[in-house]
């Protein structure tokens, strides 16, 4: 695969980086990334990954654009109200960079479709808004042996961690189970500072590109926590847990399953 003159110009600021170069840009062009959720985290991640020239971006979401989404889900515009999020995202990505192939999955991620879907990609970026899907992403990536870049936001706080299955701490090594419904508030009930989605989503995109390029040190075995009120980042050390029900020494989770949906994550 050779780049056209136009592509060389488009990606010149990447190609200039010794860590990327033409070779790295080709890796990006050949990469396939699945984004779970075309929402707050998925929007900025998809836009930057598209701008970066990721060859194939898959997006899974079953929702339509709601007015209350536009405060943070920057890939969707006012004229997209009531339209499919996946379609809206695809249009923006293609307008930004026609080099990108967008695969639309107008669906919810479930234990039935997760493995097959994830196997078609090199890595997964979790932009889901609820615990059942976050745990499912974690489990499915473990079984499919695909790296996962996890992100979460709530009020003024955001988190990111990168998981390399079998090698670094997984989400269940840290949090074994989702909280029971109602005990931990969701965005919808508790609110979220919109721009936090941009900060966390773009860190996730950074992690995804680093993994594609094989550059630097991934955010593995570390949970990065950002507090927007103090503008403070903090790293929480995590460790592969020998008692992890998924990737520990005596796993009790041997196949995918769906956690009960949270009442508080009900569709708006």
């Amino acid at each position: 695969m050779d780049f056209t003159d136009e592509q060389i110009t488009r990606y010149s600021r990447h190609i200039l980086l010794p860590e990327v170069g033409g070779k790295g840009q080709k890796k990006i062009a050949k990469s396939r990334i699945l984004i779970v959720g075309a929402g707050g985290l998925g929007s900025p991640a998809a836009l930057y990954l598209a701008a970066a020239g990721v060859g194939t971006i898959g997006i899974i979401d079953s929702d339509v654009v709601d007015l209350s989404n536009l405060q943070r889900q920057v890939i969707h515009h006012t004229r997209d109200l009531a339209r499919s999020k996946v379609l809206s995202a695809k249009e923006k990505i293609q307008a930004l960079n026609p080099d990108v192939t967008v695969v639309m999955h107008e669906d919810r991620l479930t234990s039935r479709n997760a493995l097959e879907l994830i196997r078609g990609y090199d890595l997964v970026l979790d932009g889901a808004d609820n615990f059942p899907t976050k745990f499912l992403c974690n489990d499915a990536c473990y079984f499919a042996d695909k790296p996962l870049v996890h992100g979460a936001i709530l009020r003024f706080e955001g988190r990111v961690t990168t998981i390399i299955p079998g090698k670094s701490a997984c989400y269940r090594c840290v949090f074994k189970n989702p909280p029971p419904p109602g005990l931990v508030a969701s965005c919808q009930e508790a609110g979220v500072l919109g721009v936090l989605a941009g900060i966390i989503g773009t860190i996730q995109a950074t992690e995804a590109l680093k993994l594609v390029l094989g550059v630097g040190r991934p955010l593995t075995d570390r949970l990065l926590d950002f507090d927007a009120r103090r503008t403070a980042f903090r790293e929480i050390k995590t460790k592969k847990n020998p008692n992890c029900p998924l990737c520990g020494e005596h796993p009790t989770i041997t196949e995918l399953f769906d956690h009960e949906p949270e009442t508080c994550a009900a569709k708006s």
């Binding site: 889900q73 976050k134 003024f156 005990l183 931990v184």
Partner: protein
């Protein structure tokens, strides 16, 4: 005094404070002291059997207490304790 970092979801119990101070020689003692100042905190952290809830992690000086001595992990003056529950949200 032990400095305790309170996560966003629990801040309504600490009148919005993200950092509070408490006394105690172990994690369990600090939690008991916190609960006396901020009633309801203990119930959010412990299950019916008095064990830490499975989606809540506690770190002492950024080290997970599960890899130390759990609730009985000893604390000394100047230690920092962080309460880190799982958060979802993303859309």
């Amino acid at each position: 005094m032990i400095k305790v970092r309170i996560p966003t979801p629990l801040r309504p119990l600490t009148r919005g404070q993200g950092e509070v101070e408490a006394n105690g020689a172990s994690v369990a003692e600090v939690i008991a002291d916190l609960d006396s100042m901020h009633p309801g905190l203990k119930q959010r952290l412990y299950d019916e059997r008095g064990e830490l809830r499975r989606f809540v992690n506690i770190y002492v000086n950024e080290e997970d207490i599960r890899f130390l001595k759990g609730k009985e992990t000893a604390l000394k003056e100047g230690d920092e304790m962080s309460i880190v529950p799982a958060i979802a949200g993303g859309r």
